[in-house]
Symmetry: C2
Subunit: 121 residues, 2 copies
């Protein structure tokens, strides 16, 4: 069902956890399945210098979050805002169509964390 | 969001794995979120003597599967067939309404495993 990349990021997820003194925090709920995702970011000179996520979602949600945190780390917030759920799915070598809704969670939570950071400036 | 019992069964799930020489195997897909659940049973004199599950589903799916395997172990297959998703949710001290669909997976997969066992007799 899942690509090797998805299985790798699911079994060994990167950047799991919280950031106590985060500059931005975003939580999103998935209307399809009810799962929640929170992303925490640290920002310096408009660059994402640290990023962590927390979820009780499914394997696809964990893998897409792990991947999006890797993709966003070191990018400017402008660049990070441009990451779509399709970019993440492509980096993961595809997701089953029935699990594409899970990849929304990660992209939406990242956007929410960046908005939260901007509001605080 | 989740009761202590759900968090316990999610963080420390019971009966995870496969049974190589299972007497019955049932796999069900969840129409809401696309997740899959497989349950394996060993049966002796109509009693479930071993049970294991495998899923890539969310925290609620893992907790309900863990709980239903504990509830079914040692029961006759007649008794096990009567376990409903509400029984499982009650044993878990409740599930958020938005996650009740996840508890179907475990109950349906158990039923499918028992049907598979019966077909093979
Ligand atoms: S099924 Fe809820 S995030 Fe995947």
């Amino acid at each position: 069902m899942y690509s090797e990349k998805v299985m790798d990021h699911f079994s060994n997820p990167r950047n799991v956890g919280e950031i106590e003194d985060a500059d931005g925090v975003g939580t999103e709920g998935n209307p399809t399945c009810g799962d929640l995702m929170t992303i925490y970011i640290k920002v310096e000179d408009e660059i994402i210098t640290d990023i962590k996520f927390k979820t009780f979602g499914c394997a696809a949600a964990i893998a897409t979050s792990s991947m999006i945190t890797e993709m966003a780390l070191g990018k400017t917030i402008e660049e990070a805002l441009k990451i779509t759920r399709n970019d993440v799915a492509n980096e993961l070598e595809g997701l089953p169509p029935v699990k594409m809704h899970c990849s929304n969670l990660a992209a939406d939570a990242l956007r929410a964390a960046i908005e939260d950071y901007r509001k605080k400036q």
